[in-house]
Structure formats: structure tokens, C-alpha cells
């Protein structure tokens, strides 16, 4: 085949361009750390990478949410423990009362009232501005107090006219609901993270009612009269105190059970967090395998292409350096 000027130079030109392009590609791979620079470099890998990226973003958000939920559940755990502690103390006081004189009983009654206030205060606890025990009514502005209630809180002790059944007229009003608060803990599973007020404090606020009954039994006679220093416990009074004390014991056990349940949720979420973290590590490793530059490979490729370019330029420089014209005189 005849070799012409044009074919020599066009071939040389093309080879130099190809080599420079390859060097440029390797350079970009090394400097950006990514082996896929354009969609067309490896479309099938880009598809995988995008799917993994979406999953990783989702998992990271689940991890955030689970992390915050764990903190909230720890707060729940702590408050439940405090509530049972207070209830146990109230129960102990009730037992003490049955062996005390009237003055001491009045004093104990004041204690019980204090416990009631403390438990209500704890029941109104919030985590990051969100009430823990009022279902889906989680903020103050969702609560509209109606007389005799005056506070924008889920639980409030109100005092009404005393009756034969409730001579102290004390009552705990609940402004929340018993709806579940739920989170998505993964792409397919959710988890109830709230404790129902009805579960913890009873369908009709039995925990509070027991304490109020105790206050009534200790502060008032069976006739509904305010107890004084001369008042003696009647058999009925003792029976009432015993029953209330027994109720408190049962309710305390009930709260313990829900504390355990909350603890179980906490553990489950911790497990989920652990699994999600592992899954993310796996996915990030796979994504990195797909998209990150193998630096050693790229550096070797770069070296190879640079050497090829160097030789191509050297050989190219010799094209037609000598022709027959050089020998004509």
C-alpha cells in the first residue's frame, strides 16, 4: 500500500489525540477520586450507585430518628421510674399512716398530696417541647383549658366542691388522648414510641384517683368531715387505706410492666440502629467499590499512557524528517 503524506500525519494526529485523552481521563480519576466521570463511562454502575445513594440517605435519616427516639425513650424510662418511686413512697406512707396518730396522719396526707403533685408534674414532662404522656396532643397550643382547668398542660390537678365520695374535691384532669405516636424505623417497619396515658395512669386516671382516695381517707372521716387531732381511724377508714394501698401496689406493678415494655422498645431500636449502621457501612463500601478510583491502577495507567505518548511523539517527530528531496542537489 502506498504511504502518503496525509495518511502519515492523520494517523499520527489521531494517535496523539487518543493518548492525550487517555492521560486526561486518568488525571481526572486521580484528582477527583472518582472513577466514573460521566454517565456514559459506566451506566450500569451509575444505576447501582444512585440506588445505593438513596438507600444510604434514607438509612442515615432513620439512624438520626432512632437516635433521637432512643433519647426520648430514655426520658420515658426515667420518668416512669420516678413515678413508680413516688407511688411506692405514697404506698409506704399509707402503711405508716395506719400505725400513726391523727396528727401524723394529717401530715402524711400532706405528703401524699405532694406526691400527687410530683407525679402530675412528671406526667407533664416533655422531651424537646413534646409532652411524653398525652398521646398525639403533644404541645400546649393544642390544649384549650376549660373551667375549672386553667393550664395548657396535659395533666392538671383541679379542686372542685367536695362531695361525699370525694370530700377533698381534688381531681386530675387529662387534656391529652390515648392515640399512639408512631415513627418509621425502616423502609418497611414502624414502631409505636409513646406510652398511652390509659396504660400508665389507668383508663380513668386510676393512679391519680388512688392517691386522691388516699388523701380523702387520711384527711377526711367517713362522714366527709375534715379529720382533726382527735379523730380516730375507723375500721372503714382502715379498709379504705388498705384497699388504696393495695391499688397503688397493683398500679405500680402495672407501670413497671410498661417500663419493661418501653425498655424492650428501646432495646429493639438500639438493635435496629446497630443493623442499620452495619447495612450503611456495607452499602458505602460497595458504593465506594463502584465509584471510587483505584489509585494504584490509575497511576499505573497514567504512567503507561505517558510513556506511550512520549514514544509516540519521538516517533512522530521522525515522520518525513528525511525524504528524497534531502538528497537531491
Amino acid at each position: 500500500m502506498r504511504v502518503t503524506i496525509s495518511s502519515q500525519y492523520s494517523g499520527f494526529n489521531r494517535n496523539i489525540n487518543d493518548l492525550q485523552e487517555k492521560i486526561n481521563i486518568e488525571n481526572r480519576k486521580i484528582t477527583t477520586g472518582k472513577k466514573i466521570q460521566e454517565l456514559s463511562d459506566a451506566p450500569e454502575d451509575v444505576v447501582d450507585i444512585k440506588r445505593f445513594a438513596a438507600k444510604i440517605i434514607q438509612n442515615e435519616k432513620y439512624l438520626d430518628v432512632l437516635g433521637e427516639t432512643v433519647i426520648e425513650l430514655q426520658a420515658v424510662d426515667e420518668t416512669l421510674f420516678n413515678i413508680t418511686e413516688l407511688m411506692n413512697q405514697a404506698r409506704q406512707k399509707a402503711i405508716d399512716a395506719s400505725n400513726s396518730d391523727a396528727n401524723a396522719v394529717i401530715m402524711i396526707s400532706e405528703y401524699i398530696k405532694g406526691y400527687l403533685e410530683d407525679i402530675v408534674k412528671i406526667a407533664n414532662s416533655d422531651n424537646g417541647g413534646k409532652f411524653l404522656y398525652s398521646g398525639t396532643v403533644t404541645t400546649s397550643n393544642q390544649i384549650t383549658p376549660i373551667d375549672p382547668s386553667s393550664q395548657r398542660l396535659p395533666y392538671e390537678i383541679v379542686k372542685e366542691e367536695g362531695t361525699a365520695e370525694n370530700p377533698s374535691g381534688l381531681r386530675v384532669v387529662f387534656h391529652g388522648n390515648n392515640e399512639d405516636r408512631i415513627i418509621n424505623k425502616s423502609s418497611s417497619d414502624d414502631e409505636v414510641i409513646s406510652q398511652k396515658s390509659s396504660d400508665i395512669f389507668g383508663e380513668n386516671g386510676e393512679v391519680f384517683n388512688s392517691l386522691i382516695e388516699l388523701i380523702n381517707s387520711l384527711s377526711y372521716t367517713t362522714d366527709g368531715e375534715l379529720r382533726n387531732a382527735d379523730s380516730k381511724f375507723t375500721i372503714q377508714d382502715m379498709a379504705n387505706i388498705n384497699k388504696t394501698q393495695q391499688d397503688l401496689a397493683n398500679q405500680s406493678k402495672n407501670i413497671d410492666m410498661f417500663t419493661s415494655r418501653s425498655g424492650a422498645v428501646l432495646n429493639r431500636l438500639e438493635d435496629y440502629k446497630f443493623n442499620l449502621t452495619n447495612e450503611n457501612v456495607r452499602m458505602k463500601t460497595y458504593r465506594s467499590y463502584k465509584e471510587d478510583t483505584d489509585v494504584a491502577e490509575s497511576v499505573l495507567n497514567l504512567k503507561r499512557e505517558e510513556t506511550a505518548l512520549q514514544y509516540a511523539l519521538q516517533v512522530g517527530a521522525r515522520i518525513n524528517t528525511v525524504s528524497l528531496f534531502d538528497f537531491l542537489r
Partner: protein, 492 residues
């Protein structure tokens, strides 16, 4: 001998000088694109019967031939047409790749995922106004990205239209030039051989330039002229060139009830046509290759936001994506209650606009509902009135991230990754096909060049050959001159 030898020498001088001229022209045009080398062929002049013998009378230039071959010209044109179509595809698809900002970590899909996942956090903290505001800000990021992609795809389409106009102008100029060259061929029968070879070369170059725009069929006429057809439609017939143009077809859909007619986006498609003298469209040309084929495909399908052909259209896919995104989110927020909604029925708030019945959102028109934009309290996350902590709607929105029938029986991530995967694979295919045709073009060009290209060593040899022959012929004339001078001096 005597005077006849002088004549023989003169003929030889003329013939060798012609050879020198042709060789020097070859050397001068060694790097001229499309130049086909010339070669001179000689023949003996008629011999004379003298003294009982036939004696030769020297040399004549028989003809000057060019080494151009129709076969290679045709193959090169066909390859050029394929190569330029792939090159044009590659260029357009590279632009689309840039528009999609992939593969990066800030593509549309990543922003949508971040938007959906913020609702997982909102399910935990629906009371947080800051978080609600952040969700709106992420929604704005998604909207901005859709809008930007939509606008850039629209701009890309306009660029393609400009290129189509340029290519049409270029095609018309080339067909006119070819027709003019045809005219010169048919009108000037007395063109010198060299002139006609130059015109052949020029016409071959114009035909090759034309083949970059479209695949063409060239047929030779007896008078040396050629007819050129595109997709079976004659665009040059001897010395008559047909003007081509890009015709627009506009389809305006009927407005949906309540839709502002000014907001309706008409569907414009383009085609390459040949018009009659009365302005009517005589033919529609649909090239299979060349820039026209690529540009028409890209403007009418790939970059058409309302394509109905069912073929792969990036803009239509993005618009479908925007419409489904709006539909899926709005379907949920319509059932939800904001922080201050206490009525029995939900306020029916759309997260995104447009919210006109029967009007689908597009990448260009998608926006956040104005009522919601600056009022995060209205963000409907609950499915019960007056209960902020109920986050059923928030959780459902977050679950959209994994909804298996979000769009076309797939999740949005599958749809989007398939979309960019498809862009990548057709771009890769265009690149590989272009590289293959580059190789074929190089091979063909080299083969053609091996026949019609100039080899300087070869020309140097010819130069020496003709120079030596010229010197020898001069010597003959000189010798005859000396002989004649001797004879003339004999009589003195």
C-alpha cells in the same frame, strides 16, 4: 534528421515540462484536503516513413489522469454520514448529562430522597417549626432542580433548533455550489483536463461536506454532472438545487377547565421539507444518518417535553417524573391537617402546584403551593384534626421513598436511576459507534489516500525523471542545433 529531430526534441521538451508541471502541482497540493494526485501518460507521436523505414517523431502527452475512485468516494460519504450522526448524538447527550448533574451527590434523586426522609424526622418531631420550615426548604430545592433541568432541556432544544437552521443553510449553500459546478461541467465542454479534475475534486469535497449533514445518493449523468438525493428526494438535479427548510408543526392541546389558555404549552415538532414554488410542502425528508438525522431525532423526541412517540425522551420522562412527584405528594397532603386545623374535614391543601384538575405539573411549572410556602404551621402532617403529634400523613409521605408504584410500576429511585442509566447507555453507545466509525473512516480514508494521495518521495523521483528527460531533450535540441550549425557553416 535535421529539422525533424529538432521537432522531436521540441515535443519532448513540451511533454517533459508538462510532466514537471504536474509533478510540481502534486507536490504543492500534498496537504490539500480532497486533492487527488495527477499523473501524466505519454504516447508516441506518429512515425514518418523515411528512407524505407518508419522513424518515430517523438512524444505526445496523451492524457492527464486523476486517481479519484467512485467506490471510495461513495463509501467515505456513507461513513461520514454515520460518523457525523453519532458525533452529533454524542454532543447532545453530553449536554444532557451535564444538565442532569450526574453522577454527583447533588442530583435530583438525592434531593428528592432528602425531601422524603425529612418527613421521617417530622414524624418524630412534628411540633418543630424549624423542621417544618426545613422540609419546605428541601421541597424548594427539589422544585428549583426540576425547574432548572426543565429550563436547561428547553434551552438545549432551542440550541438544537439553531443548529438545525445552520445545517439547513449550510446544506442549501452546498447544494447550490454542487449545482453550479454541474452547470460548469455541462456548459463548458472545452474545459482543460486540469480544470475539470480540479472541479471534480471540488465537487467531491462538497459532496463529502453534504454527507456530513445527511446520507446522500449521488448518481452520475453522461455530461459529467451529478444528481444528489437525500432519503430518495432529489436535492440537486443537474444544475438545479432545491432549497430545503425546517418546517414547524404546532399542536395546541385544549385547555383543561379552569386552566389559563396562555399557560398551555404547545407541542412543536420540526421536519426537513422541500417546498414547491407555491409554498406547499412537496416532500418531507427523513434522513437516516448525518447531522440532520441526529438533530431531528433529538429535537422531536429526546428533548421534546411532550413527546408522544413512545420512544426514549429525556424531557418527557423528566416531566412525567415531576407530574408523578406532585401527584403522589398532593394525594397525601390533601387528606392532612396542619398544626392549627381543627375542622372536621381536612383543609385539602396541595403541597405542590399546579393544582388544576386535569393539568399535570411539568419540570418547568412545578412550584410549592403559595399558601404553604411561608407558613410551615399549615404543613399537613396529621390525619386527625387538632392533634399535632399524629403524624400519619408525614409517615406516609416518608414512605413514598419506597413506594413500589410511585411511577411506571417502580419506585422513584428505580425510575430515576433507570432514566440516567438509559441516558448513559445511549451516550455510551453513541460514543462507541462514533469510535467505530472513526476507525472505519480512517481505514477508508487511508485506503483512498493510498490511491489518490501524494507521496513526496514518489514525486521527487518523478521530478528527477522529468528533469532528466527535459535535460536530455534539451541536449537533443542542442545537438541538432550544433549539427545544423556545422552543416550551415560547411557552405561558407
Amino acid at each position: 534528421m535535421g529539422l525533424s529531430a529538432l521537432e522531436t526534441g521540441k515535443r519532448a521538451l513540451i511533454a517533459q515540462r508538462f510532466g514537471l508541471d504536474v509533478t510540481s502541482n502534486n507536490i504543492a497540493n500534498a496537504n490539500t484536503e480532497g486533492y487527488s494526485r495527477r499523473a501524466v501518460s505519454y504516447s508516441q507521436s506518429e512515425s514518418l516513413y523515411t528512407a524505407g523505414n518508419f522513424i518515430g517523431t517523438g512524444v505526445l502527452v496523451q492524457k492527464m489522469r486523476s486517481f479519484r475512485e467512485d467506490f471510495f468516494d461513495r463509501e467515505v460519504r456513507n461513513t461520514f454520514a454515520r460518523q457525523s450522526a453519532f458525533l452529533q448524538d454524542e454532543k447532545t447527550l453530553e449536554r444532557i448529562e451535564v444538565i442532569m448533574s450526574e453522577p454527583t451527590e447533588s442530583g435530583l434523586n438525592d434531593d428528592i430522597t432528602k425531601f422524603f426522609t425529612i418527613f421521617d424526622e417530622l414524624a418524630l418531631k412534628p411540633e418543630s417549626l424549624g423542621l417544618r420550615d426545613h422540609a419546605l426548604s428541601l421541597a424548594q430545592t427539589v422544585v428549583d432542580k426540576f425547574n432548572r433541568i426543565g429550563q436547561q432541556l428547553k434551552d438545549a432544544r432551542q440550541e438544537v433548533k439553531k443548529e438545525l437552521d445552520d445545517i439547513t443553510g449550510n446544506t442549501n449553500r452546498l447544494t447550490r455550489e454542487i449545482a453550479n459546478l454541474n452547470l460548469a461541467f455541462s456548459a463548458n465542454k472545452s474545459l482543460s483536463t486540469d480544470q475539470s479534475q480540479t472541479m471534480f475534486d471540488t465537487r467531491a469535497i462538497r459532496l463529502e461536506e453534504l454527507s456530513l449533514n445527511s446520507d446522500i445518493t449521488v448518481s452520475n449523468n453522461e455530461d459529467g454532472t451529478v444528481n444528489v438525493a437525500m432519503n430518495g428526494i432529489n436535492v440537486v438535479t443537474r444544475n438545479i438545487a432545491t432549497e430545503l427548510e425546517i418546517a414547524e408543526e404546532i399542536a395546541i392541546p385544549l385547555p383543561a377547565p379552569g386552566q389559563d389558555p396562555n399557560e398551555i404549552e404547545s407541542e412543536t415538532s420540526y421536519k426537513l421539507v422541500k417546498r414547491g414554488s407555491d409554498g406547499r410542502i412537496l416532500n418531507t425528508i427523513e434522513p437516516d444518518n448525518g447531522k440532520f438525522a441526529s438533530l431531528l431525532k433529538n429535537i422531536n423526541i429526546t428533548l421534546d417535553g411532550q413527546d408522544t412517540t413512545g420512544e426514549f425522551s429525556v424531557f418527557t420522562k423528566i416531566n412525567q417524573f415531576a407530574a408523578k412527584f406532585v401527584e403522589n405528594v398532593n394525594d397525601l397532603t390533601m387528606q392532612g391537617y396542619g398544626m392549627d386545623d381543627n375542622g372536621e374535614t381536612p383543609p385539602g391543601l396541595n403541597f405542590f402546584e399546579p393544582n388544576i384538575e386535569g393539568v399535570k405539573a411539568t419540570a418547568l411549572t412545578i412550584a410549592i403551593n403559595k399558601d404553604l410556602k411561608n407558613n410551615p404551621r399549615k404543613l399537613p402532617l396529621s390525619d386527625m384534626p387538632g392533634t399535632v403529634g399524629n403524624t400519619a400523613i408525614a409517615r406516609k409521605i416518608a414512605r413514598l421513598a419506597n413506594k413500589f408504584d410511585f411511577i411506571e410500576d417502580s419506585t422513584y429511585t428505580e425510575f430515576y436511576s433507570d432514566l440516567i442509566g438509559k441516558i448513559g447507555s445511549i451516550s455510551q453507545e453513541a460514543k462507541k459507534s462514533r469510535e467505530t466509525t472513526d476507525l472505519i473512516t480512517d481505514q477508508l480514508s487511508n485506503q483512498r489516500d493510498a490511491i489518490m494521495g501524494v507521496n513526496l518521495d514518489e514525486e521527487a523521483i518523478n521530478l528527477i525523471k522529468f528533469q532528466q528527460s527535459f535535460q536530455a531533450a534539451s541536449r537533443v535540441v542542442n545537438s541538432v542545433d550544433e549539427i545544423l550549425r556545422t552543416i550551415i557553416n560547411l557552405g561558407l
